[in-house]
């Protein structure tokens, strides 16, 4: 039981430390801003470790973080192979293809009211299909390898980006479009110089939603057939072998990859839409 009490003591001490830090001017510095969440994260891990050890929780139910870290350290080549298969080959190409397709279709919809009436409902319909129904079909169509995973990701990310971009293209003000008209601007000039820049905050909202969906899609699609590697494959087989520490190791990798992808999109967003009130500092 001593591990439990140590964990609780560490938790309370770290809590007090963070409260103290947050009240000081130092917490507004760059270092202070990073220190508080790092202490919090470390506390969660210590508490987790202490609870699991102190209460003798079975590793199948919840392994301690130290066991997960040890598993990660000893299976780096496997984790890297799975990461490359699922994220680098499945999620990211699917995300890029889906985003590119949504971009082109959004402009086509914008050009033609006919497509607006016809394509948006179809997109809506596809988005409403459950992923567990769609994934096996796409695996049948595109094979077991990463191509079918990328296809699932394309389907998943396409609609949120499309809807956001179609909304974004309406975001420019009437006065701004009138101005373009008074200068005799063409459709494409108005699109490139006014409507696309004005749509960027919307487009990035769609991209951020899609970046997490891409990860989910690539992992879940592997449940329905894959080569003998990949994060989804590993999770489903290790669950069957009660290798829960490996499942947690994959979850840790997935969480890191998802955060990194989201962070990257947010970073590009800050750079592109620096002018938007939500990004001005």
């Amino acid at each position: 039981m001593s591990a439990l009490w140590i964990a609780v003591a560490v938790w309370l001490a770290a809590w007090a430390l963070n409260v103290w830090l947050a009240g000081r001017a130092a917490s507004r510095s760059r270092l202070g801003k990073m220190l508080v969440p790092i202490i919090f994260g470390a506390t969660v891990l210590v508490l987790w470790e202490g609870l699991v050890r102190g209460l003798n929780v079975a590793p199948v139910i919840l392994p301690p973080p130290s066991a997960i870290a040890a598993k990660i350290a000893t299976s780096l080549p496997v984790l890297w192979q799975d990461f490359a298969q699922t994220i680098l080959k499945g999620a990211i190409p699917g995300f890029l293809i889906g985003a590119g397709a949504a971009f082109v279709v959004a402009i086509a919809i914008d050009r033609s009211p006919f497509l607006q009436k016809g394509l948006l409902p179809v997109g809506n319909f596809v988005a409403a299909l459950p992923i567990v129904g769609l994934a096996p079909i796409l695996v049948m169509w595109f094979g077991f390898d990463w191509q079918s995973k990328a296809a699932v990701v394309v389907v998943m990310v396409f609609f949120p980006i499309l809807v956001n971009m179609v909304a974004g293209l309406q975001a420019s003000e009437r006065m701004q479009r009138d101005l373009m008209a008074t200068w005799g601007a063409s459709y494409w000039q108005t699109l490139v110089k006014l409507r696309l820049p004005a749509a960027m905050p919307f487009i990035f909202n769609g991209l951020k939603i899609a970046s997490t969906l891409a990860l989910i899609g690539a992992i879940v699609a592997e449940f329905f057939g894959s080569p003998v590697y990949g994060m989804g494959f590993r999770i489903s087989t290790e669950v069957g072998r009660l290798g829960l520490d490996m499942v947690w190791a994959e979850i840790a990798v997935a969480a890191l990859a998802g955060s990194a992808l989201y962070g990257l999109v947010s970073l590009i967003e800050r750079w592109v839409t620096f002018w938007h009130p939500s990004q001005r500092h």
Binding site: E173, M175, Q176, D178, L179, M180, A181, T182, W183, G184, A185, Q189, K193, L194, P197, A198, M200, T273, F274, W275, H276, P277, R280
Partner: protein, 264 residues
């Protein structure tokens, strides 16, 4: 070469009508509007909201299309004039693009019209000086005050050097003090550039102070009730607003506005 001389007609409206089809049935926005604006005129359109003053300006700019009568700008249809970049338009709000710097905003119409790079830069610095915003070219719009933003939007309308400047309540959202300053600057600008200016306002002192010709309009249906040629000299210090002539013109404008209301 006759039509480039001062005093030649630039904008001519004859029997102009505009009916909007709305959900509540047709609305007569303009009824039988006859007006000639000559080169170098400063024409103000004044009237209560719904009198069609903005609509008339938008017709000149080909942003609205009349349903009856004739309207010519520089002897062409408004649409042709728009494509020939006959005018610069200043809206009530500055409408600067926040992702572009002030200089970038002024450059935008020049990019669209295909001016080369060196010419763009030359014109930007020229108009920035004209509206007294020299040194603010690299700022973004949101870093400037409302008055400065509106001056930047005027610079943008001047950059491609159209003969006609159409201004739709450009200072309506600004406070009295800033408005006075910008009115003075607008007059200076008009004197220096010798442009023809169409100016929509709902302020009687602003209309009388600025204009050589005041067009009084009234609503339901939108129509012209009086056209006043101002006897004030071209040089107008701000305190001209206390002179007798000024007060007399203002009185006549007010009477015209009231007469329009009586007919309701």
């Amino acid at each position: 070469m006759k039509d480039t001389q001062a005093g030649a007609p630039v904008i001519e409206a004859k029997g102009l009508n505009l009916v909007f089809q709305t959900a509540d049935g047709p609305v007569q926005a303009l009824k039988d509007v006859n007006l000639t604006v000559n080169r170098g005129d400063f024409v103000s359109f004044i009237g209560p909201s719904g009198c069609g003053k903005t609509t008339f300006l938008r017709c000149i700019a080909a942003l609205e299309h009349p349903t009856g009568g004739t309207l010519t700008v520089n002897g062409m249809s408004p649409d042709e004039a728009r494509r020939k970049r006959a005018y610069g338009y200043v809206f009530q709000a500055a409408g600067l693009y926040p992702w572009r710097t002030i200089a970038g905003n002024i450059k935008l119409p020049l990019e669209i019209m295909g001016f080369d790079k060196a010419e763009q830069d030359r014109r930007v610095s020229q108009v920035l000086e004209l509206v007294e915003l020299k040194g603010f070219g690299k700022k973004f719009p949101w870093q400037l005050s409302g008055g400065m933003q509106q001056r930047a939007s005027i610079a943008r309308a001047l950059a491609f050097d159209a003969d006609i400047l159409l201004m739709d309540e450009p200072f309506g959202a600004l406070d009295e003090i800033v408005r006075d300053r910008l009115n003075e600057e607008t007059l200076k600008l008009w004197a220096r550039t010798e442009k023809t200016i169409g100016f929509v306002t709902h302020s009687i002192p602003e209309a009388v102070y600025l204009s050589t010709k005041i067009v009084v309009m009234s609503p339901r249906p939108g129509r012209i009730t009086d056209i006043i040629d101002s006897p004030l000299p071209k040089e107008r210090p701000l305190d001209i607003r206390d002179s007798r002539e000024f007060i007399e013109i203002a009185h006549r404008v007010r009477e015209g506005l009231r007469a329009g209301h009586h007919e309701d």
